[in-house]
């Protein structure tokens, strides 16, 4: 699956109990509702490990953060794990200022995310 409309989902790869979602573009107020719907749909499959590739996400605002928080809570509810990787400095600073780096698992690479 590629380029899912306005949802910013570029690709989804499933491998056993692991699902990798590749995102692209600005996760802002304009795109967050569609991204939220796409990610909620994926959590319906209850992947044990939901990995989010943020390498092509240049910007995120508080609505994007809220989307990830909501998805994180869903994944937590079924005892899954949500892992981010490939964050640029800007996106990482958003997670730091909102103190979500304390809750989210953030890795540098896909390989680390697969083992986190």
């Amino acid at each position: 699956m590629t380029h899912d409309g306005d949802s910013l989902v570029k690709d989804i790869r499933r491998d056993g109990d692991r699902t990798l979602v590749v995102l692209y573009g600005d996760v802002d107020l304009h795109h967050s509702p569609d991204l939220h719907a796409a990610l909620v749909g994926i959590t319906g499959e209850r992947p044990r490990r939901l990995m989010l590739d943020m390498s092509d996400v240049p910007y995120i605002d508080s609505s994007g953060v809220g989307t990830f928080v909501e998805v994180f809570r869903r994944v937590n509810a079924y005892k899954g794990k949500m892992i981010f990787f490939g964050l640029n400095d800007r996106v990482r600073s958003v997670f730091e200022i909102t103190k979500l780096d304390k809750f989210f698992t953030i890795c540098d690479s896909e390989a680390q995310a697969a083992e986190a």
Binding site: D28, L29, V65, G66, V69, F72, R73, V94, I97, T98
Partner: protein
Amino acid sequence: MIPNKDAVELNIKSHSSHLPVVRGAVERMADVEGFKEQDAHALAWAIDEALANVIKHGYEGRPDQPIHIRLEAVQSPGGRRGIAVAVRDRGRQVDPSTIRGRDLDEIRPGGLGVHIIRSVMDDVSYTCPDDGGMLLEMIKYVSKDDGDTTGDKAEAPAKGRSQSR
């Protein structure tokens, strides 16, 4: 708002598709004014959050309402360059004393925009103009050379800036 021939003024509708355009314009102005990339991003981020709040709360999602943005180069009493921002809308009025960020010790969506604005800007002031809507005035100065892009609350507001109403 006091007219200023040197200010950059943007008029947009309350549609979320306009936000990237404003972010781009703000970052470009910040670059022209000598902001480092991190500062320029922080400024654009805060303005983006302010506009998102206007769209979500002030206009309750209506996409065709007016928002006026004014950007003006200023200087702090200590000589640091900065940009003063005014965001004016015609939406629902809210008591400024109730506008504050939420506790971040719990993980839940919502309420982060004001926290972000207050974290990255040096001066933030909300007022309710007599003729309706809200006016948000804020200032971001270039950061000191320690790489800290969050607001420096110790610095006094720029001299000559219009007072909050």
